[in-house]
């Protein structure tokens, strides 16, 4: 599932922490290394966040601070394997896609119960899916674009989504598609929302079996007060501005966790998180590239570094009213040749990442760098491309475009992300050398999102994508996705790419080979058309206290084995 995010700091990481408060909640048992590897139960995990969660309910959750909380309580039928990204069973033990690709069947595990003992059934799944389709605040409805009856339900023409059927006493869930939907096995597991809600508790607040399309789950009080959990921890309390507290769920289907309590503490920004990490106040947190060196030197911490499923880029709005030259491919290529990405890698990312030249990041199974141009830094080439496109050098060192206007434009990005701010300033300097004047603009993240919504009033912007395990770039690159609130905000249109994206999404050949080929077609085109200046995929850098055992974070999940973690005293 696509998720639009900025790499602002680390939201949640699971970590075991040994509190350093003088009162000490951890019994100081014998410190002898005797039965050293025997897991010891008890203790408290402290994670960090850079803001309060806005909601604890997946249907209306749109930001990482929120998902970092509810992911502990509300799970999906499937999950991505933390290392490979392949779909594997979570709450479901069997997933079957019919030969014609139009029917998906989930079989749940036996004896699944919520933390209060009540059973988890397929009805919970269906309830969540219907909540998504009726919600006015969700961004997840596209998951059900090809499910039979979803649109009717949304418009109030039906009192249920006919394409989702629960049978076999709630143990089997069958989904019917109108078209083959290749990402189905990966994307449908979370009922669109990413996590499945306990319908028993939510139903009295909003009844899904109705045709009243004006009512929905958006403002229910349970959204901030998760009543039960299917995950390893149960919600206990939320102190706004301070922390979220959770206790262990003995009924977790993978086994009760060894850790007693999990706390997510709120900090003002990434630097405060780093300080907390260094002083031992939190046990596990991610760090920015610039801090990696410094934090590596802390004895009590162990470092983790792995590839991430994300990348940073400079976007160029081909529909920009004030910069008509951005519609020209040569100009965009020049912009790529004109910035020294290698220097960025060395000095801003400190070598802790990989340069990218197209959309699918190196960690994805669809990644294929063959045939991609690397746009090595070349000022002369950039200038010659600009001149080929019709630009003429003006007396002040700035090129004039074919309409006589000086080539001047604005690049904006969000404050608080150190790497992006630095890249912005670097870019300003670099582009001056190829005769283009840049006006830098720093703004709040929300303002940035507002301003770069599909439209004509922005030129360049620096942002990042955080991608799910299934390679489905449809919502970012398809020409139909240029509406308000959608993700193709650079106005990219390429019929060959459209076709490849449709093939990748709706098959009919959903084999990995076919999809990999389709993705490669897309990547090649993006590489040549340069709608973005693709920059780099930064490795995830994190540190955890050495006391945390069995901790194994990877690209697609850090918390996949949370029930096995324990604190070494």
């Amino acid at each position: 599932m696509r998720r639009f995010s900025a790499i602002l700091g680390v939201a949640l990481m699971v970590a075991v922490s040994c509190t350093q408060a003088p009162t000490g909640t951890i019994p100081s048992g014998s410190s002898a290394a005797s039965a050293a590897e025997q897991p010891q139960p008890g203790g408290r995990l402290v994670l960090s966040a850079t803001g309060d969660p806005k909601t604890m309910q997946p249907v209306i959750s749109t930001d990482t601070q929120s998902s970092a909380i509810w992911q502990w309580f509300y799970l999906g039928l499937t999950r991505a394997n933390s290392k490979t990204g392949q779909t594997e069973g979570n709450l479901a033990e069997k997933i079957e896609l019919s030969k014609d690709g139009l029917t998906l069947t989930y079989t749940l595990r036996d004896n699944l119960v919520w933390s209060d003992g009540s059973p988890f059934t397929g009805d919970d799944y269906k309830y969540t899916a219907e909540a998504v389709m009726r919600s006015k605040k969700t961004t997840r409805q596209s998951t059900f674009a090809n499910v039979v009856g979803a649109q009717d339900y949304k418009e109030g023409k039906a009192d249920e989504i006919k394409g989702i059927q629960v049978s076999n006493g709630g143990k089997t869930i069958t989904i019917q598609f109108t078209k083959v939907f290749c990402p189905a096995t990966a994307a449908m597991g979370g009922a669109g929302a990413g996590g499945i809600l306990p319908s028993k508790f939510f139903k009295p607040k909003w009844d899904n079996k109705s045709t009243d399309a004006t009512k929905n789950i958006d403002d229910v009080d349970l959204n901030m007060n998760p009543p039960v959990s299917m995950g390893p921890f149960v919600f206990k309390e939320f102190k706004p501005g301070v922390q979220v507290t959770m206790t262990k769920n003995d009924k977790y289907f993978r086994g009760a966790p060894l850790i007693d309590e999990l706390v997510v503490k709120v900090y003002a920004d990434a630097t405060a998180v780093k300080n907390a990490l260094v002083t031992g106040e939190v046990t596990y947190a991610g760090v920015e590239a610039k801090d990696y060196d410094e934090v590596s030197k802390v004895d009590a911490l162990k470092g983790y570094r792995y590839k991430s499923s994300s990348y940073n880029y400079i976007g160029w709005n081909a529909k920009a009213a004030k910069a008509p030259w951005l519609a020209n491919k040569d100009v965009r290529q020049a912009l790529w040749y004109g910035i020294n990405v290698d220097a960025i890698m060395k000095k801003i990312v400190f070598g802790l990442g990989t340069q990218v030249y197209a959309h699918n990041p190196p960690v994805s199974w669809a990644y294929d760098p063959t045939g991609l141009t690397q746009y090595t830094y070349d000022v002369a080439k950039a200038k010659s491309l600009l001149e080929k496109a019709g630009a003429k050098m003006g007396p002040d060192g700035i090129y004039r475009w074919t309409d006589g206007q000086p080539m001047k434009m604005r690049i904006e990005t969000n404050q608080g992300n150190n790497a992006r701010e630095t890249i912005l300033q670097f870019a300003q300097d670099q582009y001056k050398q190829i005769g283009i004047q840049i006006d830098p603009l720093l703004e709040s993240f929300n303002a940035l999102l507002d301003r770069t919504d599909p439209g004509t009033d922005f030129e360049g912007f620096i942002l990042g994508w955080s991608l799910g395990a299934d390679p489905d770039p449809f919502s970012i690159w398809h020409s139909s996705q240029q509406g308000k609130g959608q993700f193709n905000n650079v106005g990219y249109v390429n019929p060959a790419v459209d076709k490849a994206l449709e093939d990748n999404r709706n098959g009919p050949d959903c084999s990995q080979d076919a999809r990999k080929k389709a993705n490669h077609t897309v990547d090649l085109a993006l590489n040549q058309d340069a709608p973005y200046t693709f920059l780099y995929s930064q490795d995830t850098l994190a540190f955890a206290s050495k006391q945390l055992q069995n901790f194994d974070p990877n690209t697609y999940s850090t918390i996949w084995n949370a029930e096995k973690w324990w604190l070494k005293k």
């Binding site: 402290v46 605040k137 969700t138 409805q141 706004p240 501005g241 300080n275 106040e281």
Partner: protein, 319 residues
């Protein structure tokens, strides 16, 4: 005294009204469209939806009407829903006020407890060198940028030397209010915020004490045969306290304004930090509620100061 208080309360009403007008204009005249902001998360919003919401919020009415509707809602303590948190704005603010008050009150206590004795000591010392020193000291306290001081405090004393916690109200897992842990966590913010006040007091007190000591009634007390310490304590201090109380006004302002920065630097979940985050994310209901409520608090504290002033100096009441 009662009539004095009542009179001052009545005088505060037009001020409060002015605050309401100012706050209202602030948000209504902003460049962003509140409806747009509120629907930011919604992906399938049609223009009918937008118009409907606009009408529901009363945003299609002329401004004065909107204003009175808003004031009416305020009278019912309805400050609206936070766009960002989806919870009542008033609730968010009330949650945070006790946290900020802790710092302010502690800072007030510290300022007086440290500043007054320092002032007395300073008053008893004459001489040019002392003059210069006290003058620079008092001015320096105001000149030092609070955010810089707080930053250095956190970076050196907390992160590098680990003498102090890096912020927050309590250590993780500790949940007490009036206890040692809280005290330790309060030290940093309180010290930084009190510096300005502490630096000022010796100077004010010194000038006042010097002036008062040469006054007639002190001489009278001396010739009546009262011992020197008694003279100082009873007569001088009481009159010298007047400007101290007056300076509370500035001090309170410093606390409120400073709270914004200090809370951010020390990771304190108070009203200042909430306001900052709300302003940055353009969460108007919270920003409005915060401005209105802080103003009320400030007006109330000015009132308290005036009452203290009147109590210390009986001449005031008569005026």
């Amino acid at each position: 005294m009662g009539r004095f208080v009542a009179r001052r309360l009545v005088q505060a009403i037009p001020t409060f009204f002015g605050v309401l007008v100012l706050t209202f204009l602030l948000s209504r005249l902003s460049p962003s469209d509140p409806v747009q902001l509120m629907l930011a998360g919604n992906t399938e919003v049609t223009s009918e939806d937008r118009e409907g919401l606009r009408r529901a919020l009363g945003l299609d009415q002329p401004l004065p009407v909107q204003f009175f509707v808003w004031v009416w809602q305020l009278a019912h303590l309805d400050f609206g829903q936070s766009i960002y948190y989806h919870r009542p704005a008033l609730q968010l603010i009330l949650e945070r006020i006790p946290n900020s008050l802790q710092i302010s009150l502690a800072a007030l206590v510290v300022t007086v407890a440290v500043g007054v004795p320092l002032g007395v000591v300073a008053a008893l010392r004459r001489g040019r060198a002392e003059d210069h020193f006290i003058r620079v000291f008092s001015v320096a306290g105001h000149a030092i940028p609070q955010f810089w001081l707080g930053l250095i405090f956190v970076l050196t004393l907390a992160v590098q030397l680990r003498w102090f916690p890096i912020g927050s109200m309590n250590a993780v897992g500790v949940d007490c209010g009036l206890c040692w842990d809280r005290f330790v966590h309060l030290l940093g913010p309180v010290l930084v915020i009190s510096i300005a006040g502490i630096a000022n007091l010796p100077r004010i007190l010194r000038t006042e004490v010097l002036e008062v000591i040469s006054q007639d009634y002190v001489r009278t007390a001396r010739s009546k045969g009262l011992g020197e310490p008694m003279v100082v304590a009873v007569h001088v201090l009481r009159n010298a306290l007047i400007p101290v109380v007056t300076s509370f006004g500035t001090i309170l302002l410093v606390f409120f304004s400073g709270s914004l920065i200090i809370e951010r630097v020390f990771n304190w979940p108070g009203l200042g930090r909430l306001t900052f985050e709300a302003a940055v994310s353009k969460d108007y209901p919270v920003v409005q509620a915060s401005v209105v409520i802080s103003s009320v608090l400030l007006i109330l504290s000015y009132l308290l100061r005036d009452i203290a002033y009147a109590w210390v100096d009986p001449r005031i009441k008569v005026r």
